[in-house]
């Protein structure tokens, strides 16, 4: 009758059990489905929010940084420039900030039923991806409106999206596991992201950063991702080669590391939560 499951005490370092996670993919789908359904149920504007949010934030950036502070935008219309930056930023911050509190948020489930816990933080990415999809459609409309052609680099966009999500998910997994033990994490993360938003070249180009500070900004992986996104969407010059190599390597390392970290903490969740 079926396959035999063997349960033994956890080891210090746990390797994710892929077949188990694969076997529970329907749970992942159900969680994602639930998140998406709940997001806009009982809201008046419904799906319109997905469209309004990125437009509004890019709009505010244009007024504050483009018109008031007169930041440069590498010769592009400022609104378009900051919109594409926000697109990538929202994808990254959405994945991290939604997955970080997810385990704690579903403690009722964790202590009552078994499924690979890693599904909880990973499933939060679905809603973020939907928002991103809508924003990308808006972005295409804007490209036409401003008469900017993205060039062949656009073919690489899916690669950047996957890499950025892996990077975010890896961080999210670590934070989700930490939050179970240390509730401080849930206070620190939103604040940290607010700081990070301004420390990354989302609202301004890296070229306008003073030379003596350039090193700090270039060490920020978000800078690498933003460079790659703007290269693919706005036909900007490609980011330096070392960044194009470092970005995928880091994304994979962080994702795998996050998975292992999470799995190593996973089996005591029900005891600690």
């Amino acid at each position: 009758m079926g396959t035999v499951t063997v349960i033994t005490p956890p080891r210090r370092l746990a390797i994710p059990r892929w077949n188990e996670i694969w076997g529970a993919r329907e749970v992942l789908y159900r969680f994602a489905h639930r998140d998406v359904l709940l997001r806009y149920r009982q809201t008046v504007l419904g799906v319109l929010w997905v469209v309004l949010q990125p437009l509004a934030s890019a709009g505010i950036f244009s007024i504050v940084f483009g018109s008031v502070a007169k930041l440069q935008s590498d010769g592009l219309p400022y609104f378009l420039f900051s919109f594409m930056g926000m697109l990538a930023w929202n994808l990254f911050s959405g994945v991290v900030t939604r997955s970080a509190p997810s385990i704690l948020g579903s403690q009722g489930l964790i202590s009552k039923v078994f499924f690979p816990r890693v599904i909880v933080p990973l499933s939060t990415a679905a809603a973020v991806l939907i928002d991103f999809g809508v924003a990308i459609v808006l972005g295409v409309i804007l490209l036409f409106a401003y008469g900017v052609s993205p060039g062949w680099g656009v073919l690489l966009l899916p690669v950047w999206v996957v890499l950025l999500m892996m990077f975010g998910a890896g961080l999210g997994l670590v934070l989700a596991a930490l939050t179970v033990r240390f509730r401080d994490v849930s206070y620190i993360v939103p604040w940290l992201f607010q700081v990070l938003l301004y420390a990354s070249p989302v609202a301004y180009p890296i070229s306008s950063v003073p030379h003596n500070l350039r090193g700090f900004f270039e060490a920020n992986p978000i800078t690498w991702a933003l460079g790659a996104f703007r290269f693919s969407l706005l036909d900007q010059p490609a980011p330096p080669a070392w960044q194009l190599i470092a970005f995928p390597v880091l994304a994979v390392v962080v994702f795998v590391g996050g998975l292992i970290f999470f799995e190593s903490w996973e089996r005591e969740f029900a005891d600690v939560i």
Binding site: V6, T8, L38, F114
Partner: protein
Amino acid sequence: MRQRGRARSSASLTHVGEGLAISASGVGKTYRIAKNRDDAITLAEQLLRRVRHPLKRIQYEPFTALDDITFEVPWGEAVGIIGRNGAGKSTLLKLLTRITAPTRGRIELGGRVGSLLEVGTGFHPELTGRENVYLNGTLLGMRRKEIQRRFDEIVTFSGVEKFLETPVKRYSSGMYVRLAFAVAAHLETEILAVDEVLAVGDAEFQRKCLDKMREVATDGRTVLLVSHQIQNIEALCTTAMYLEAGGLKHYGDVTTAAHLYRSSFAAPTSSAQTSRRQGTGQARFASATADKEQYTTSEPKWLRFTVPAHPGLAGEYFVSAHLVNSDGIDVLQCDSRVAGRWFDPKEAVDTTLAIDTPWLKPGRYSVDLFLCQAGVLDAWHGACGFTVLPLYPYEGTVTDDAVELGTVLADFSFKDN
């Protein structure tokens, strides 16, 4: 609390899958409880402590919830798991359902395990009945096709056809429970683990649940049932496990297990076992006795308890005594708050609780004592016990069937109008 360990090599295991549904060998679970109670909740607190006492590591006290459990369950069996509070029943079920990991030993499961540790796991109030059926079913271990195939059956079983597209937050609690149980009842996992879900719902609903579980067991699958209600175990199970203080004392026929369970109420646990008592331990009972070993049904029962002075404890505390019958049901709760009585921890307490009514049915009773402030300081299950003899205060002849039902005896009369 974190546990670590290595699986012992276990070459002696019979093959799970062919004849066996579950096999466990040397399974144990030890929790680490921070000794100084204030387990660091925030990172800052923990860092601060490190800075203050750089050499002092946090002291942990091991608490063994389960130890050296070894058993084999064949297919097609309904196994009851009984034991008193704190014996490790729920921990065992949580290990078998993989909610928490064992510290020692090895468990082999011959199939998918569906767990019913509560009704409606994962039900979300904003989702409709239909959406919740899918979400809950998936969480319990059903595949999408299984749910689709049995969807109509589930809905008919629950009787909420008309409200399928309504968010469950608008359901009555009865509808909610019926729908949740309907999903659970249609689980097709090879092993089904159930924990006290029978406690919810009305009598009719409970009967339905029992029937469903019997059906599962006769189907050749395996059912594990944890319950305090010994009648349910006797009615449903083919074999039973009796757990005591984290050890498996008996695994075999239900009659013996039920006997062991019932007689555990007869022998009060000694106060030497203070360490196994739950509660923070900031104050504990020292002794508890009933003034007589045997009572008639109607005479007042006097329970005397003592608590030493705990000068270090701030504020007053109250005590609560629960009278538990041999079926494990809490018959009475005598809470000192209700009587307006609070105790001062600076003074030693020597007090008698006098219970005048109701009249108790014949049988063995045990007393659970609790000492509480905002939280529970001491939970002493089976602090003392007594027997009520079948001596009735009624005027007429008492036959067994005349006093069979009910949990206590009433002082009643018939008056013509």
